[in-house]
Amino acid sequence: MANKISDETIEYVGILAKLELSGEEKENAKADMEKMLDYIDTLNELDTEGIEPMSHVFPVHNVFREDVVVNGDGSKDTLANAPLMKDNSFKVPKTIG
């Protein structure tokens, strides 16, 4: 195995992804990720020098909308699934600042 994922890395990725893994989950995540990265590293066998990264598969461009107000009061639908709400707003734990 070429790739080694440290505890710190798993911790850090957990912060980025907002996932809290248990001790066992962490060990599994490390092993999974190492295995996957080793596999992904096989891409390095490919010479991609000078190849443009392709994010969109078709050369479609300039898809626009005109600047015209269409939507009306959407608050009822917006809040329809809110786990917690108050004063027509979503209620969340206190944010800083």
Binding site: T9, I10, Y12, V13, G14, L16, A17, K18, L19, E20, L21, E25, N28, A29, D32, M33, K35, M36, Y39, I40, D41, T42, L43, N44, E45, L46, T48, I51, E52, P53, M54, S55, H56, V57, F58, V60, V63, R65, D77, T78, A80, N81, A82, P83, L84, F90, V92, P93, K94, T95
Partner: protein, 489 residues
């Protein structure tokens, strides 16, 4: 008359001819669902009342001559990652366990405009991440051909529902093979259209640059008819493409005379089950006898599609799924201290293991210092794969390949080794990377009695060629029904 054994188009015709009422069609599906669900479990949500009510409305519209299309009055099941207004849409995840969208996905709306009656939402791998439908929070779906085997995934519920004749047709979505592979495992027909053909508006995203909605049915004619109904240029989806033609049923022609079929040697080598290989090559032989010109060739890069796919799909998924945070909809953890703890607990409790695995991988490959090495490398690989297909389609009208290296595996055998499970998508994934259309059609069963699917891949916007080849082959055989359904238990 056995309503549930009819194809969607056959049922539509009988409804139009007033031989069967829409309510009877819906009731037949409900009866069949009641018979099958305890064994198969294709559905997350079944909406009997809503469907019967809608059936009456649709009947009126048919009677008034407002609805005249081939699918008017025909029941349909929708994969649970497509939004349906006021109807639970869970993505088979705990995190969306109580989520009722306030709008309906464009593809589903198109079906409703065509007079479809939604009978329920089908089970899937959680957020479409998986190849077995075992990652669903709501329990696994079983293969109607053998209840000890998986139906495939991620659209396993949709494919099992069609195979179990719980509904004449269903919608699925395909990010890396999620329509074609379970279609092959369940002995039904499924099409993954060219990227941009069916609107993604209302499809809960997994890998946005790869996701495409498509039809699943008993035969090619149904699939072409359904595709014609769901395909549209949607201004709400910027990646939706305005195609010149949305006519797919005109391709239902029994004629492959002179068509060039490419057989990629690299798709028939090591790792492919012997029986699957035989069945597909037999089918190819049939097409050759019908006048097609068959040639082997090297497609190359096959082994790089999976790693490239897992980088791209996981990266996109890690971002797409970040909106599930307990703030606006869905599950929120009961106890928490502060904002970030709420986020973490909600997501850790709300997502299953496979989803977390891909979110972690996706977050890692995009994180500072790795973007170029992983993400850009994968996008460059994707460009090379597209190039390889372009070269192939300069020579061939269609490419024929297996849909999966094996027939359906047994339940409980796949999830312990994710990488092995991922390898099962080897023949379907590059089609998504290149945005191409693909169809899976049944070509027989293996010695265990499990269906084998053949994949026909077309150049972009050339669905009509794959439909024509599939239809021509289909005319040489009869549709096979699982024992479970024939017995009518």
């Amino acid at each position: 008359m056995d309503i549930t054994s009819l194809t969607a188009v056959e049922l539509g015709k009988k409804i139009k001819a007033k031989e069967i009422s829409v309510v009877d069609a819906v009731k037949a599906s409900i009866v069949q669902i009641e018979k099958m669900e305890k064994d198969v479990h294709s559905f997350v949500t079944i909406d009997k009342e809503g469907a019967l009510k809608r059936a009456e409305e649709v009947q009126k519209l048919i009677d008034h001559g407002t609805l005249t299309g081939p699918l008017a009055g025909v029941p349909v099941a929708i994969k649970d990652n497509m939004c349906t207004k006021d109807m639970l849409t869970t993505c088979s995840s705990k995190i969306l366990g109580n989520f009722k969208p306030t709008f309906t996905a464009e593809a589903v709306l198109n079906l409703e405009r065509a007079g479809a009656v939604i009978i329920g939402k089908t089970n899937m791998d959680e957020f479409a991440m998986g190849s077995t439908t075992e990652t669903s929070y709501y329990g696994e779906t079983k293969n109607p051909w053998n209840l000890n085997h998986v139906p495939g995934g991620s659209s396993g519920g949709s494919c099992a529902a069609v195979a179990a004749e719980e509904c004449p047709y269903a919608l699925g979505s395909d990010t890396g093979g999620s329509i074609r592979q379970p279609s092959s495992f369940c002995g039904v027909v499924g099409i993954k259209p060219t990227y941009g053909t069916v609107s993604r508006y209302g499809l809960i995203a997994y890998g946005s640059s790869l996701d495409q909605i498509g039809p699943i049915a008993k035969d090619v004619a149904d699939c072409a008819t359904i595709l014609e109904a769901i395909a549209s240029h949607d201004p709400k989806d910027s990646t939706s493409i305005a195609r010149e033609k949305y006519d797919f049923t005109s391709a239902l022609v029994e004629d492959v005379e002179g068509m060039k079929i490419g057989i990629p040697k690299d798709y028939f080598g090591d790792g492919l089950d012997k029986e699957v290989k035989e069945k597909i090559l037999e089918a190819v032989k049939v097409l050759e006898e019908k006048g097609a010109i068959v040639e082997e060739f090297d497609l190359s890069l096959v082994q790089y599609a999976i790693p490239a796919y897992y980088v791209i799909a996981s990266a996109e998924a890690s971002s797409n799924l970040s909106r599930f945070d307990g703030v606006k909809y869905g599950y929120r953890t009961q106890e928490y201290e502060g904002l970030h703890n709420m986020y973490k607990k909600t997501r850790s409790e709300g997502f299953g293991a496979e989803v977390k695995r891909r979110i972690m991988l996706g977050s890692f490959v995009l994180s500072s210092g790795y973007y170029d090495a992983y993400y850009l490398k994968a996008l460059r690989t994707k460009a090379l794969i597209k190039q390889a297909f372009d070269n192939a389609f300069a020579k061939y009208d269609v490419i024929i390949a297996p849909a999966s290296p094996t027939t359906a595996p047994e339940l409980g055998k796949s999830l312990s080794d994710p990488l092995k499970m991922y390898l099962g998508d080897i023949y379907t994934i590059s089609v998504n990377l290149a945005g191409l259309p693909g169809i899976s059609i049944p070509v027989g069963t293996d010695s265990k009695g499990l269906p084998v699917g053949m994949q026909i891949i077309g150049n972009c916007f050339e669905e009509n060629k794959i439909i024509r080849v599939a239809y021509t082959f289909e005319q040489t055989r009869t549709y096979e029904r699982p024992e479970l359904v024939k017995e009518g238990r």
